[in-house]
């Protein structure tokens, strides 16, 4: 696909329309937006969402785009925080047909394009899966349309994904399907609060030992992307550097203390 050169321009606030809302897990909702004038995004980028009350009061939060650049529409994943100001509105009140003000796509730094190669090591905590899902989906699309074994879309990729329980795994079915149909994609789950009967996988928060077992070796020089609550991101990044990974090949997206 030839890259079209577009003159650079400022980001402006735009209004998107909610075309679909979907309960992804008990605590999260997926929103699909149609944004007129959207010029596309790269996997890993985010949008800033701004809500305005009738008296003019505004609240703003950032949400990563979960949809692949090749898909139509912009998909956001919102985790409902009980004491949140923005997330309960997005998960409980916002409906199909509503308008949502947003700014983006933002962030050329925390981005992966198939041409960047691999291997890829992705680490997600909770709703931190969103930007990594965009990367995984993008990778799957590129694998389909390129049909070549050269470095890029088929470089081995591994996702380590921490969720509270099986019901809380966002994109569970899609990840299962992608991993089953693509030998170069491996998904490792860890369930931190409860596990289904017969679960043989990891059953604790991501720690040094788990990373030592799951991460590719530093010699493989993976591109690493870590996203989720700030404490998880910082501890994972520190551990990986301690294991010998090049800090320059680790990119982080902290969601803040509560995880978004």
């Amino acid at each position: 696909m030839a890259e079209v050169w577009r003159p650079p321009r400022r980001l402006v606030w735009r209004i998107g329309e909610v075309v679909e809302t979907r309960h992804a897990t008990p605590r999260t909702k997926s929103l699909l937006l149609d944004v007129p004038g959207w010029e596309g995004h790269k996997a890993g980028q985010h949008v800033d969402v701004r809500l305005t009350a009738e008296d003019g009061y505004q609240a703003q939060r950032s949400y990563s785009i979960a949809s692949a650049p090749e898909e139509r529409g912009v998909e956001l994943v919102v985790e409902r925080l009980d004491d949140g100001e923005v997330s309960p509105y997005l998960t409980d009140e916002l409906r199909t047909g509503d308008s949502l003000e947003l700014r983006g796509p933002i962030g050329g730094w925390f981005v992966w394009e198939a041409k960047d190669g691999g291997p890829l090591f992705l680490v997600a905590g909770g709703s931190g899966i969103a930007p990594l899902m965009a990367m995984i989906r993008h990778r799957a699309v590129m694998a389909m349309i390129r049909h070549r074994a050269a470095a890029g879309s088929e470089a081995p990729s591994r996702l380590l994904y921490s969720s509270r329980s099986r019901e809380d795994i966002i994109f569970a079915d899609e990840l299962d399907h992608l991993a089953a149909s693509d030998g170069s994609l491996e998904v490792v789950h860890t369930l931190t609060r409860s596990q289904p009967p017969g679960w043989t996988g990891y059953a604790r928060r991501i720690d040094d030992e788990m990373l030592a077992e799951v991460a590719p070796s530093p010699e493989q020089r993976p591109l690493v992307f870590v996203c989720g609550p700030t404490p998880l991101v910082e501890s994972v990044a520190t551990t990986l550097v301690g294991l010998g990974h090049d800090a320059g090949r680790i990119k982080t997206e902290r969601f803040g203390p509560t995880g978004g």
Partner: protein
């Protein structure tokens, strides 16, 4: 404002007759940060008064806490529009710290751990209008709210109540501080809604 989000109300925002224009009451105590939270150990903490003074002064934490202090109950107003009424503090009056200081200065700059600064006319921190506060709501001031001690100047927007304050530099000229040099009003009177340059 032409666009608004259907059905969005946000957190409870009450107005009150006691509030300056454009403010609303907030539950909780928001934390706005411009940098990492400093964590100076009390053994290393000191407070100094210097600049255009005949004799600079300095107190260690123990010396500072031995100074006469008072309880202060005031409303506070943040430039980002939230306010809290009747907040309770304990601290040392800036008048106490300036006692006996000879100066021709008309201004001062408060400086803090982490590099934050804010400027004020000297007359706005004297005459019982300002304190160095070490306790909020009956508890030691938490680091995220400026502990171990912050400047407290409740009659002006709360960005002037500098967190993690370590001293006052008295000056003969005015020197805009961290936010005053970046678009925020040099004086900051909430009752005249002096939020930004040109207000």
């Amino acid at each position: 404002m032409s666009f608004f989000s259907r059905g969005f109300r946000g957190r409870r925002r009450q107005t009150d007759d006691r509030l300056p224009p454009g403010q609303y009451l907030v539950e909780g105590f928001p934390v706005l940060s411009a940098g990492p939270t400093p964590r100076t150990p009390l053994e290393e903490w000191d407070f100094s008064v210097g600049g255009e003074v005949d004799e600079p002064k300095r107190w260690t934490w123990d010396e500072f806490r031995a100074l006469p202090s008072e309880e202060i109950t005031r409303d506070i107003h943040c430039v980002t529009k939230w306010s809290k009424l009747s907040t309770r503090w304990e601290g040392v009056s800036v008048d106490t710290l300036l006692e006996g200081v000879q100066t021709a200065a008309e201004y001062m700059l408060a400086f803090c751990d982490g590099g934050y600064t804010t400027n004020l006319p000297l007359e706005d921190v004297t005459g019982g209008r300002a304190w160095i506060a070490y306790s909020f709501d009956g508890e030691p001031l938490q680091p995220e709210h400026g502990g171990p001690a912050r400047l407290l100047v409740p009659h002006l927007y709360f960005w002037k109540s500098a967190k993690w304050v370590r001293g006052l530099r008295l000056l003969t000229h005015d020197e805009p501080g961290f936010w005053e040099s970046l678009g925020y009003h040099n004086y900051g009177d909430p009752w005249r809604e002096q939020r930004y340059w040109g207000d």
